[in-house]
Amino acid sequence: MTEMVYGSVPTRDGEPILPRWWRTIDKWSLSAVFLLFGIGLLLGLAASPPLAQRNGFSDFFYVQRQAFFGTVAIFTMFAFSLMSPQTVRRLAVIGFACSLVALMLLPILGTDYGKGAVRWFSLGFGSIQPSEFLKPLFIVVAGWMIAASNEVAGPPGKSYSFALALFIVLLLALQPDFGQASLVLFSWGVMYFVGGASFFILAGMAGLTVVGGALAYQNSDHFARRIDGFLSAEVDPTTQLGYAANAIREGGFFGVGVGEGTVKWSLPDAHTDFIIAVAAEEYGLILVLVIIFLYATIALRSLFRLMRERDPFIRLAGTGLACTFAVQAMINMSVAVRLLPAKGMTLPFVSYGGSSLIAGGILIGMLLALTRTRPQGEIADHLIRRGR
């Protein structure tokens, strides 16, 4: 009767979208991302005015751009995190195809901005770096392939995805951009590992790396010098690394004070690759530890949530995304403290850069989508053991 008078109560198949999103999303990781973005803006205020002055813009030109791109990135992230894993996968496959084509077109249409590496498309108001977008999309596609290969009578997805990874590495090496290339290889390796690589192969690869490194060290003077220079305790104070190390020392535990740092004037990459040095100098070890803690939070929480994940695709793609994100941050910081040889790599969400920010938004958005809480059949596991 009531229905006849007032019409039927609208029915929903499940919870409303946003409340469900809020309930299932990993709030810790989400907060960490927002904090990192905030820290990035804060450091940009300190690190980018020298560059802006050099390029003849107003002091906070790059901060404004960073804020704009950051907003775009956060909305992208939000949009992606709303999607179901299946939608994520479909979008990723389409996006991957597009960015792969874009990457292949780089030698023809790209510009190098006088930096000696053709990595960008110039769009007038800004530039776009396809490899940044390719990376997370590739991870999802490769995760899908490896997961499929584990199905009974599935396609040989491991070989296909490895071939794809090698092809991308080749394209990136041609630019040349060995940093991104190694990240792509690393992400594939992590997924392969979690996807069930045999320990025999893994041990063989580790052995080959050690033997190859030793051979290269003995036979190539250039390589040996690089390694010796990296291993030696002395660091030339006039190199980028020297400035970075000195900035960290100057900063000490609590920093020299906001805006008081000097390293940003000496380092050409202070706003990108060496932003951690600026952070260490002006805000001290405290902020650096906070940053490291935030990255570790995102990576470790994601891995922890993925441990309970039942779906192989979600598990693999999520692992690849989380590990790539964490490793990129780690490599960047390790270079600044000389744990690793110099390698140009940005600090995700903190370093300045439009492509890197938005690609980071996509990466984290997809990661959040994949790590959302969903039923994992725990009750079924308990109740129905199907005779096993």
Binding site: P237, N246, R249, F253, A280, R310, P312
Partner: protein, 597 residues
């Protein structure tokens, strides 16, 4: 085509017999296998994700720890000085053989301006001109107010000047540390040290590079970072060098010469104890090279090394020694010296007529051109060339001076018999005083080859034998005779038994031919003759001795007294004790007790 086996075969066969659809059983089986596979993969992945998580945790912890270690260590203070110290270490000091400093480094500052940081360019320019009167105010102001971002104002300033610039108080005036090369002894050994200048230049440091002399020749060694702070020890003795330069300067003035050179060499090792060339300069403030005229007149010109002169009769001993070595003559062989000696259209004459014949010894003592030429005829061209080559008189010297590499002896293009004859008494062949000193050392030390060097040798390295010890001894005795009863009688220094040979050569005109009244007077000497220790070559350029009725230019009147004074003053410094024995030839005691001077 691969056939997929029907699984589980037993149930399917049973179902087929019962007429049921076996596909359902197969699907069910597939789903079960799939579930099982997924569960095992999940269990495996769980473990591996845990491993990954631990690895990442460790890695992040390591980065944090390393970061804390760096942050906890003391900052390197101040950075600019640290890089300055590095540069200081990259150019080694130069010392003499006893470790006394000849060249060292000093930290000064360079002054530069960054006009964008300047507050009052007008006042800064005005005040700067007060401090540095050689700057021009308008020019400075133009630079400060122009579009330039960076201007060098002064390359090197003193601490007082730096303070004065500080007091201007303009933030756009900045200082960069500068290493500069300092030669604390001023003009002493100027030609050896040469000088240094700035190479590549940055704000916080500049390369110091050698521009001449030893500093340039040994530049790579001095800048070798692996050297540490080990100074480069030279064979020079600073005291001896200073004495030689003073005496040479006095001698040059007395003899009205326009230039002079001296080389004092250890006869056994070839170490140059002193090498001087006058006029000289201050390597701290190197003069500009001459743009017009003869570069040989510049004070930068090293007469002892670069000056390639005809050295005259000093060469005679080579011909005579070779004649004795080849057993063509002995000291007492009589040589026909009736002149003039004709060869083609050429005539060879002696300075005076010494009679019809002289013994070989007297050919040296009286310095007979004709007698030497006759001995050279006996030797022949080929053997003469080989012998002079063995003595190092036909090639550049290997001494560690950049100038030595360009000082190649001049020899006749067509070495005919007449060349052989004139070369035997030092005409038609030119070499530097350093060449002559090395050749004398080789000839007189017992016959072992000596290469001149400016670096201190820790132990003597015997060279190949050039002539026999006996010939060497006879040559020394003949040279002694030259001093006791020959042309170099002023060369006697009580107690030091000097032997030597004079040489007076007319200077060649640049247009061809020879000057009548311009000579190069040389005295090449060895002391003490019975136990040879040092070779000394003194060369005067255009000397005139005017105390007599007519001007005298021969070496015996000019170069010899200067060389004798050098030996008299330097021999005690070298640690040579004067001999108190009777002189065998003259029968008079030559002890220091009888010396009056």
């Amino acid at each position: 085509m691969t056939r997929t086996p029907l699984r589980p075969l037993a149930r399917i066969l049973a179902a087929r017999r019962a007429g049921e659809n076996p596909d359902i059983i197969e699907r069910q089986n597939l789903a079960e296998r799939h579930e099982a596979e997924r569960d095992s993969a999940r269990a495996r992945a769980e473990g591996r994700l845990l491993v990954l998580g631990v690895v990442f945790l460790c890695a992040f912890t390591m980065v944090s720890l390393k970061m804390s270690m760096i942050a906890g260590s003391d900052p390197v203070e101040p950075r600019a000085a640290a890089s300055g110290a590095q540069i200081l270490a990259t150019r080694a000091d130069i010392t003499d053989r006893n470790g006394r400093i000849l060249a060292t480094n000093l930290t000064t500052h360079a002054l530069y301006a960054q006009p964008p940081l300047m507050i009052e360019p007008e006042r800064a320019a005005r005040e700067l001109v007060k401090i540095f009167p050689d700057l021009q105010e308008e020019r400075l102001l133009r630079q400060f107010t122009g579009g330039r971002k960076f201007i060098w104002i002064k390359r090197r300033i003193s601490p007082e000047q730096q303070q004065a610039v500080f007091d201007i108080g303009d933030p756009g005036l900045l200082f960069g540390p500068r290493e500069m090369r300092l030669y604390p002894n001023g003009q002493v050994a100027a030609h050896v040290l040469g000088g240094a200048g700035f190479g590549r230049e940055g704000v916080s440091s500049a390369e110091v590079i050698g521009v001449a002399g030893l500093e340039k020749a040994m530049d790579a060694e001095l800048r070798d970072p692996g050297r540490g702070d080990v100074p480069l020890a030279l064979s020079l003795d600073l005291t001896v060098q200073a004495a030689v330069e003073r005496i040479l300067e006095g001698g040059m003035r007395l003899m009205n010469a326009k230039g002079a050179a001296a080389v004092l060499m250890d006869i056994n090792t070839g170490e140059i104890v002193s090498i001087a060339s006058l006029p000289n300069f201050d390597p701290n403030d190197r003069p500009q090279p001459l743009t017009t005229g003869d570069p040989g007149d510049s004070p930068l010109f090293n007469r002892a090394v670069q000056g390639v002169y005809e050295l005259g009769s000093t060469y005679k001993i080579f011909a005579v020694a070779q004649g004795i070595e080849e057993r063509l003559v002995s000291r007492s062989t009589m040589v026909d010296i009736q002149g003039p000696l004709r060869w083609g259209k050429h005539k060879i004459r002696d300075f005076r007529n010494y009679g019809k014949a002289l013994s070989v010894e007297d050919v040296i003592v009286k310095s007979s051109n004709i007698g030497t030429a006759r001995i050279a005829q006996m030797i022949g061209t080929e053997r003469q060339q080989a012998f002079l080559g063995d003595l190092g008189l036909l090639e550049t010297t290997p001494v560690e001076l950049i100038e030595a590499r360009g000082a190649r002896p001049l020899v006749p293009k067509n070495w005919s018999e007449i060349s052989t004859m004139t070369i035997s008494y030092g005409h038609g062949i030119s070499a530097s005083p350093l060449h002559l000193a090395s050749a004398y050392a080789t000839l007189l030390n017992g016959g072992l080859k000596v290469e001149p060097t400016l670096l201190k040798k820790d132990y003597p390295v015997p060279g190949p034998r050039i002539i026999s010890e006996d010939t060497s001894r006879q040559a020394r005795e003949m040279l002694r005779q030259v001093v006791t009863r020959g042309t170099a009688s002023f060369g006697e220094v009580a107690g030091y038994r000097v032997g030597g040979k004079t040489g007076t050569a007319d200077k060649p005109k640049s247009t061809g031919g020879y000057y009548e009244d311009k000579v190069i007077a040389t005295f090449a000497s060895v002391f003490p003759v019975d136990d040879p220790q040092y070779v000394l070559v003194v060369t005067l350029d255009e000397p005139v001795e005017t105390s007599g009725q007519e001007p005298r230019r021969t070496a015996g009147w000019t170069a010899v007294p200067v060389a004798a004074e050098v030996i008299r003053r330097v021999a005690p410094l070298l640690g040579l004790a004067p001999s108190l024995s009777l002189d065998v030839e003259t029968g008079t005691p030559t002890g220091i007790t009888l010396a009056r001077n």
